[in-house]
């Protein structure tokens, strides 16, 4: 292939203190299917948003078909022949397929004249690329797989030569995914260039010509797909970071504290996010759930914690059920000894405008120790907060300070202190060290081990594989809403990376 369809040189993009894209260089040859792989937070979506004109890079150049092109708005990208199929569809739910496709490219001010022409063109495109869908269908009545076709048709209708697909198979069934790959093959045959962003290695190996790997904002490698293996890609994707191995003794698990049986959870679109999941957590052990974000772990945690409703299945806490398909009450669960450190500490685990001591009782504010009749016993609460601040080394040591003014690590410690100090029987934790500085990470990890040594059952969900491997006694890998494998803490990165990317294990788990 001669000229590169896309060439990115020295792209940098920061959002405040977060350096999302670091010095990215990327060349995408024309007429190929190019995969971009990486974990969540690696910077893939940001990079593609820059290419699509949604964001502007801080520094760097974009060359399209050999020509240096300024892309400051989506219009520029569209004019340059770049089309994007977003992960979360950009569709107007109560419009028809045709209306969605022509939005922005209506042709004339009066629709009557152009709409017949548009319809004909749409039907032609549908036939040419095998993307059949009824132009008069209303989007919200279409299954998700067909909605995605509309997204693709939108890009093709605007004359895209270069198509970027952002995690397209997340919402598709395997059969729909296969159909999509056939379509991508067809597009390539017609000379289009396709960029496929995904974390699923199987897809990469199946249809891409080349693959670039991103990790922590950087482009770490580019390979010809035929010249690499899933193992190599998995290792590049997950990386050889400094392992934060915590000193820990052998665990001594005893009774079953938490039992999940055949749990199925759907999101509001009706897509199954947790698919018939079963597992147990025993007292005195840490069970870690590994997986790339978006494979159902969040929904699993929320359901067990009682803030999301399940479609089917049971969850037993100390042998007694939690009403997960009905009206579970987080307050009642706390009373029964279930503590929850949520993944979103900003909007779920904390109320940022509150002062620190007010957040130190969130969820426990109805406990007698904090109340004097209907009144809050402010002195008792503050004393308790100060205790926790000291014990957990929370800084600054000011319980009157607004929580928004604490650093991420200290905010997380506030949440952990609150949940751990109540001596729960079961602790479920999501992303405990996301956005937390190294010093605090070590502290938090030590605390989690201490809980386990104290005979608590800990369920840990994290996208950081290091953390999972370092802390867990048993590791479950979630992919596509299912548990695809169970390993012990000796499992290698590569092995886990493969499972996380949806590649079936060579040997059976059990």
């Amino acid at each position: 292939m001669s000229e590169a369809a896309i060439e990115l040189v020295g792209i940098n993009k920061s959002f405040g203190a977060v350096h999302a894209n670091r010095d990215i260089n990327l060349e995408i040859p024309r007429g190929t299917i190019h995969g971009i792989i990486g974990e969540n937070g690696a910077g893939k979506s940001t990079l593609m948003s820059i290419l699509y004109g949604f964001y502007q890079a801080d520094t760097g150049d974009i060359h399209v078909n050999g020509k240096s092109t300024a892309i400051n708005t989506p219009n520029d990208a569209i004019a340059a022949g770049i089309g994007m199929v977003h992960q979360h569809f950009m569709l107007v739910q109560n419009f028809t397929v045709l209306e969605n496709v022509i939005l922005g490219a209506e042709g004339e001010a009066l629709l009557n004249k152009s709409i017949a022409k548009a319809r004909a063109e749409l039907i032609r495109l549908e036939k040419e690329y095998g993307l059949e869908v009824n132009p008069n269908a209303i989007i919200e009545e279409l299954p998700v797989g067909l909605q995605q076709r509309v997204e693709i048709l939108k890009a093709l209708y605007r004359g895209a030569d270069i198509l970027i697909l952002d995690e397209p198979t997340g919402v598709l069934t395997p059969a729909e995914a296969d159909h999509l790959f056939r379509i991508l093959g067809q597009l390539k045959a017609e000379g289009k260039t396709v960029v496929l962003i995904t974390h699923k290695l199987r897809e990469i190996m199946a249809i891409t010509d080349n693959v670039s790997v991103m990790r922590q904002g950087q482009m770490v490698a580019t390979r010809k797909t035929s010249e690499t293996t899933v193992e190599e890609l998995a290792e590049l994707m997950v990386g050889r970071r400094v392992l934060l191995r915590v000193q820990k003794e052998e665990g001594k698990p005893s009774d079953f504290k938490l039992s999940v049986k055949n749990l199925t959870v759907k999101d509001q679109r009706g897509v199954t996010m947790v698919d018939n999941v079963s597992f147990d957590v025993r007292a005195g052990e840490i069970v870690g759930i590994a997986g790339v974000a978006g494979n159902g772990q969040s929904e699993l945690l929320e359901t067990i914690a009682g803030i999301r409703k399940a479609e089917a299945g049971t969850v037993l806490l100390d042998g007694r059920p939690i009403d997960v398909t009905g009206a579970a009450d987080p307050g009642e669960l706390r009373d029964r000894g279930l503590a929850h450190v949520p993944e979103d500490r900003h909007y779920v685990g904390l109320v940022l405008p509150f002062e620190e001591y007010e957040n130190s009782i969130l969820g426990y504010h109805d406990h007698a120790q904090y109340l004097k009749g209907p009144f809050l016993d402010i002195d008792a609460i503050r004393a308790d907060a100060r205790d926790k601040i000291e014990k957990y080394d929370i800084r600054p040591t000011n319980e009157r300070l607004k929580t928004a003014n604490f650093s991420g690590g200290n905010q997380q410690k506030i949440v952990l202190a609150r949940e751990m100090e109540k001596d729960p029987g079961v602790l479920i934790v999501g992303q405990p060290t996301r956005g937390v500085d190294v010093g605090a990470i070590e502290f938090i990890h030590k605390r989690l081990i201490a809980m386990r040594d104290g005979g608590k059952a800990v369920l840990l969900v994290s996208v950081e594989l290091d953390e999972i491997r370092s802390l867990s006694d048993r590791i479950l890998v979630m992919f596509d809403g299912r548990i695809v494998g169970e390993r012990d803490s000796e499992a290698s990165e590569g092995e886990l990376g493969l499972l996380m990317a949806g590649v079936e294990a060579q040997e059976a788990a059990e």
Partner: protein, 323 residues
């Protein structure tokens, strides 16, 4: 008067009373369909009425009044747009603020400029959009039934009345047959989809808000220059909120909006007609009952008892590019 004549007279009143509602309702339609909630229809209509009354008095021309009304109402619409779109402020608060600003300003300026206790000078025929006699109306007057209806009900309204009904069609046509309308409806449902299609969400919403301002200007003009002979303080008397209620009742669609406004106008006309007259069975129904009825109906609707009223999905939420 016999029943038939009474009915026609009531229907005639209905039409006249529903026009300010209809114009304000259509105004709100543009804004809300684009995702900008507008509680300030009342204020814009009032300010428009004042501007119309003032300009018509000063220049002796109803058209001058209309122009002034559209300008003033449009200006207030821009203020609302500035707060809601550019500064992403709370749209309800902004609307409430505009209502007060308009209410106070019209009285103060009215008193200061015309010294008549807050009203504008009474207008002669030049300054008003008076009754228009349609062709053959006089001739048809004596034709039984049809002729009478034509003469009494259809002919003899202000030109703004015909304009208002025409605007129902125009609104429908703009929303569903033009590119602008397609984009406007899209931005009220999914602004991100509009943004990624390369269309400016901000400019689109501002244009919607300007349409709202213009139509509110017409609504105010009708009040001051057609229904009345000048501006009188607080002359909107809550019509802006009834228009909002009608809009919700009509589930944000133009043709049902027309019927909803006619319904509310009918209730108003009925209330006036029935004042003091005992009804069979129920006896004297207090006029306040009819006055409260549009509001009660809206609450019942919002409670989900008359079907679901689903507003534009992105309504009331300022658009922020997701990080």
């Amino acid at each position: 008067m016999d029943f038939f004549t009474t009915l026609v007279v009531i229907l005639d009143s209905t039409v006249r009373l529903s026009i300010p509602l209809l114009l304000a309702c259509l105004a709100g339609l543009f804004s809300e369909r684009a995702g900008v909630f507008d509680i300030g229809l009342e204020g814009k209509m009032l300010a428009g009425a004042f501007a119309a009354g003032a300009a018509a008095a000063v220049y002796g021309s109803a058209w001058a009044g209309l122009g002034a009304a559209v300008l003033v109402s449009g200006f207030l619409a821009l203020v609302h747009g500035f707060a809601s779109i550019t500064h992403r402020g709370n749209q309800i608060v902004s609307g409430v603020a505009i209502n007060f600003i308009a209410a106070g300003s019209t009285i103060i300026l009215g008193q200061a400029w015309f010294s008549q206790g807050g009203r504008t000078p009474s207008l002669g025929a030049d300054g008003r959009f008076g009754a228009v006699t349609l062709p053959f109306a006089d001739a048809m007057r004596d034709v039984p039934v049809i002729g009478y209806i034509y003469y009494e009900l259809i002919s003899g309204h202000s030109i703004l009345v015909y304009f208002a009904f025409f605007m129902v069609f125009v609104t429908w046509w703009v929303l569903f047959r033009t590119r602008f309308g397609l984009r406007l409806r899209a931005v009220g449902e999914n602004p991100a989809a509009v943004d990624t299609a390369g269309i400016s969400v901000t400019w689109l919403r501002y244009r919607a808000v300007l349409c709202t301002g213009a139509l509110c200007g017409f609504a105010g003009t009708y009040l001051a220059l057609a229904m009345n002979a000048g501006f009188v303080k607080d002359m909107t008397a809550g019509k802006g909120f009834i228009a909002l209620a009608a809009l919700i009742f009509a589930k944000w669609r133009p043709a049902p909006a027309m019927f909803a406004c006619l319904l509310f106008g009918f209730l108003d006309a009925l209330a006036i007609r029935l004042q003091g007259t005992p009804l069979p069975v129920v006896g004297r129904v207090p006029v306040q009952f009819f006055q409260a009825l549009p509001y009660v109906l809206t609450v019942i609707l919002l409670a989900g008892f008359i079907g679901k009223a689903i507003p534009p999905r992105a309504g009331g939420v300022p658009y922020v590019k997701e990080r």
